[in-house]
Symmetry: C3
Subunit: 151 residues, 3 copies
Amino acid sequence: MHEAIEDLLADYAEAIDDGALERWPGFFAEDGEYQIITRESHEAGLPVGIMYCGSRGMMEDRVQALRTANIYEPHTYRHLLARPRIQRSAEGFAVRSNLCVFRIAQDGETVVFATGRYLDRIVEDGAALRFRSRQVVLDSRRIDILLVLPL
Amino acid sequence: MHEAIEDLLADYAEAIDDGALERWPGFFAEDGEYQIITRESHEAGLPVGIMYCGSRGMMEDRVQALRTANIYEPHTYRHLLARPRIQRSAEGFAVRSNLCVFRIAQDGETVVFATGRYLDRIVEDGAALRFRSRQVVLDSRRIDILLVLPL
Amino acid sequence: MHEAIEDLLADYAEAIDDGALERWPGFFAEDGEYQIITRESHEAGLPVGIMYCGSRGMMEDRVQALRTANIYEPHTYRHLLARPRIQRSAEGFAVRSNLCVFRIAQDGETVVFATGRYLDRIVEDGAALRFRSRQVVLDSRRIDILLVLPL
């Protein structure tokens, strides 16, 4: 199962890095949750995040908006994940992995865009593994105005 | 086999990072190919790369030239690879892994030198695993003049 | 055993990144050694490091000092490790892994703080795996004045 979970995490990163945003909602259970939050808010127990989607439908809307409005400066991401730590839980698996995301602007400029942790709850959803919830806990409180794509 | 492939990828990175360039051609099959290309060219199907070697002999020549001419400002690399995604193919394995390479100048300055993907075709070559081809697809179109060492 | 060693490495990184410094000495054998050294000194065979602790007791003292004096500008780390290369040795395992550590200042500024290698000797210490020695070989000779936390 460790292998299958690692493949899910790598596949997710691949979809985002490839710009295949339409694949993004499919990594989540139907009522799956996605949240980006700062470490500071997370440790203070504040529920207010930077980005929140409470269902696959909300994620699809978000992708649709990104594709339609297209107001953001074009850029791509490159994810690097460290080995995940996996614990069995009542409903599936609690998974944590360190991450770094680089952002590459259209002119080629590359910056360390975000570092932090993924805190995931992963469940067996039929034959597939999917996120019941995925929380991206960012180390930095500096939130870039360009945070429009999911991490 | 997953383990053996991951060891090959890590050993390759180790050789480059250690500056053991003479080990580099040995990671490839006799008629192995090595190419560095931008994402832009790769997606446009343009075959023109930034660096290309079409055989182990060409790689040996390149190493020889680097050792002899020694025209470049001394620096070292540090590779970080994410978990590879591995698929069996007719002739062996198709492998993809995200990568980041840091460059450390002699005065100690450290920069994110390159991010991107390795797209590898790996074959069993006698008792060893070797690259039939290794393509380094760089995210950025900004090609540094200091790109003289293989990635 | 490969899995257990990888879990040890990830758990260590997690403890430091979480700021749980009190957990740090427990990753080492009673007479375990910890050293941070530059690549330059390491390759020259110079034993002089940037930080050295020769026992778990010395590590506990160091943590105590950090907690009490609190003279440093608050910051956190984020570790990213590549897959380790593991070799059996007479007394346990010789393990090497590439690493990058990002430093996040309180105002959110994130920098590539250090790149290099962990060179570890890991032993079975009762039921647990622990470091007999852990050497952090830094690529850069620029040693930041903020290097007060263990890497």
